[in-house]
């Protein structure tokens, strides 16, 4: 067991964890933050477990909890504040950017980071940015639209 201090969605947690525990299990099982999902075995391809590590999108199934010691993690539960959805979350609702919702938290986390770095993306940029997130339901059409419209809203300052 190893003691880690990880700030998750603004709250610092101190927990003793086995070194082999995956960050995604730490989030889901220790902190009961089950919005972060697991969709692959060892390959780290599906992206459903994407969270922010110090503000950057990473796959939490490809990190050990001990590696996040001393860092800040944001999960999908941390995207909205006081019940107010982020512009991107709202855009996904408005434009039907999800169906089963399993991949959605990972996509929201990746695209939140993406929009912060690419405020005026083309559709090709968005599609390229989404490569690390597999979605089976939507054919990506409404996801691209939701991200595009969120970018417009953010640019307009309306968000």
């Amino acid at each position: 067991m190893q003691t880690v201090r990880i700030t998750v969605n603004g709250t610092q947690y101190e927990e003793a964890v086995p070194p082999r525990m995956l960050l995604v299990d730490f989030l889901r099982e220790r902190l009961a933050l089950t919005g972060t999902h697991v969709g692959c075995t060892y390959e780290g391809v599906c992206g459903a477990c994407t969270v922010h590590l110090d503000g950057e999108a990473v796959k939490s199934c490809m990190l050990l909890a001990v590696q996040a010691d001393g860092h800040a993690v944001t999960t999908v539960e941390g995207l909205s504040s006081n019940g107010d959805l982020s512009v991107l979350q709202q855009s996904f609702r408005e434009h039907h950017g999800l169906q089963c919702g399993f991949c959605t938290p990972g996509i929201l986390m990746n695209m939140t980071d993406f929009l912060a770095r690419h405020p005026e993306p083309s559709d090709d940029d968005i599609r390229h940015g989404l490569i690390g997130n597999l979605c089976r339901c939507t054919g990506y059409v409404h996801i691209v639209k939701a991200v595009r419209e969120a970018a417009k809203t953010l640019a307009g300052g309306a968000g």
């Binding site: 089950t34 999800l98 169906q99 089976r136």
Partner: protein, 802 residues
Amino acid sequence: MDITVQDSKRWMGARLERKEDLRLVTGQGKYLADIVLPGMLHAVFVRSEYAHARITGIDVAAARALPGVVDVITGDEIRTRVKSMRQPVVLPNLPAKYPDYHALAVDKVKFHGDPVAVVIARDKYVAEDAAELVVVDYEELPVVVDAEQALAPGAPRVHDEEADNEMFAMTFTGGATADEQMRNEAEVQRIFDTAEVVVSNRFRVHRTGITPMEPRGVLCDWSLADGLTAWITTQRPHIDRLALIDILEIPGERVRVIAPRDQGGGFGVKAPFYRENVVIAYAARKLGKPVRWIETRYESLMNVGQERDQINDVEIAATKDGRLLALRNRGIANNGTGQTGVYWGFVMPFLGQVEMPNVYTWEKGDIKLRVATTNKACLTPSRAFGHFPTRFAIERSIDIVARRCGLEPADLRRRNMVPKLPYTTITGEYFDSGDFLKVWDSLLRQIDLPAFRREQVAARAHGRYLGIGFACGAELSGVASELLVPMENQPGYGAATVRVDPRGKVLIFGGDAPGGQGHETTVAQVVASIFGIDPSDTLVTTGDTGATPFGAGTIGARAGSYFVSAVHKACAELKEKITHVLAHDLGVRATTEEFAFTNGDVIYLRDPSRRKTFREIVERIIMFPVNLPEGEVGGLEATAFFEAAKPMICFNADFCIVEVRPETGEFTIKRWATSEDVGNVINQNIVDGQMHGAIVQGLSNAIFEEFIYTDEGQQLTADFEHYKLATAADVPDIELSYASTPCPHTPLGTRGIGEGRPSSVPGALCNAICDALSPFGIEVTELPLRPSTLWAQIRDAQARQH
């Protein structure tokens, strides 16, 4: 929220934000892996490394000795304590050789991934440690993975008790008796003998399917008092419950199955009754503790989501001016082991052959299927159930006929399309309603075909190869009992309970178990439009057999056809009661039609000043059931079952434009456009989303995804690095359009949509590719469509031409 929608009737067809989405975008969805019970144990399966081998011994001592391990269960234990998986509740009423099998492998393993043992431990990491310590001794047996080899005399037998590997065979045309079928065969042969144009091709479609993003899972709890509660990722909780009752021999009142409210996609993969359900339920009962199994992606890709895998030898007889005369097909399906309850693998290719003729007016047909058992995982249903390969074969064949006749493929299709409905095809498939030609013509209005042909010629002069491809198809709009009883031994009706709450809210309970289709929203819009309330004043509960009416499950595009129709029927019953009481209270003699339910009020139309709010009148009926009309009692709750008189369909048509680079065989999809008959629309966003998803699934199946087995039956594609799903950067935008006809057989004119929709995709895509490459005379007859194989074909054609 679209606040411009005021009139209650306008809820129908609105692009309403989904009720599901607030929880799903905030990480508050509750999927199976999110459910935790106190003291819950974790299960990890030990699975076969071999495709075919005799189990000569299993040593579990080391695994049991690992601290934290609670139990290790093998096939020998399961065999003696639990009935086999082949029970009537999961057996179709079709004549097949159904293999008997147990929840864990006994004596033999029959495919790479076959479950051999299960480890139960207090910690999931430890369970995996222990699973590594289970030692299984195998004696390898000869393997058969190819369907034709499996059917050949002398092939290794997958099931020792069977004389051969032919699990199922059927003739779909000519009549019910062998004599009638032989006469038909001869008549078809005569047409071929004299036909001006005969086109014969062998079409192969690889093994692929629709893998959901959430793998499977089972959580079982056992209590002496209440028996078994099982949370299962499933599209059919009610059928699963019956299967658990029968196989584990638990009295029915002591079994409750709950499909979690949120499920990460199903697409057919979560429709069968699986062995893991039985193993986990058995373990929970034995240990008296909750036990959970969450499937890994590796297990998922080894065991489920594998479909297609057919060969179809298609022959078409036609006149030289492009009239289709006869269709002959000899289909062969590679079923894998055939060990999966409800479908047994072969039900998919069975339906695929039923749908083979598609929407064309054949004079005669001769269609036969053979299904081979092999040492692969059993086929499991995947969206475009069974007919992804047959639709590809027929739509490609149509284009080949058109090229032989020198006709525009779009014209040849139109000319042979069923002009008027209803219509029964040569295989007996019933098309209830709609207007195929209207949809087709609407599709063609989205492209200036002569202008495209000019552009194509001009481009070729510059060494650029553009092509256009068309395809179309009728899909089942829900599956009627008429088909579901023989195919799956279960009813097809839609089931719904509608309970009006004294506070003016409406609670709906459905027997289905959705996985992303948006039932909560769709039903809310229907109920809101009927009762004149806001969709937010409704709550939909699905999936819990303890709370919902018995229903077929979320299968075969039945939400928009059967489920909402059952909801409508229950609402109509309640509406009648409400107006009956209201008329009595107002002292008028009036029929239900003389009242309007709108904007939260129930209004007497002959004197609109006489009204009550919806809440007032329902509270009065539920809570103050005094001074009621004679014969009426209080309470407002109704359960209704809906079954249309006939099976129903929807229809769709696609075209796409591609550019092929002959130097590498790479291709770009420049446009994908559709026209759809979806009947009346309840939520346009949801319908659009269904189409987008289905079309991209079709593309992903056709181009990228493939389950690969070696000749030894080793499966090489059990992770997402090798089983390649299309990413957002790999697929085009989709242009949808609609030319719908309301369905006359549902109360709202709606159709069930989405299930069969991927099937037209490979035909349209490959037709476009072949159109682009027509100077080389290339006809694609195999999937997947890979640049590498296309390039090889182009190179061979160039060599022939020089």
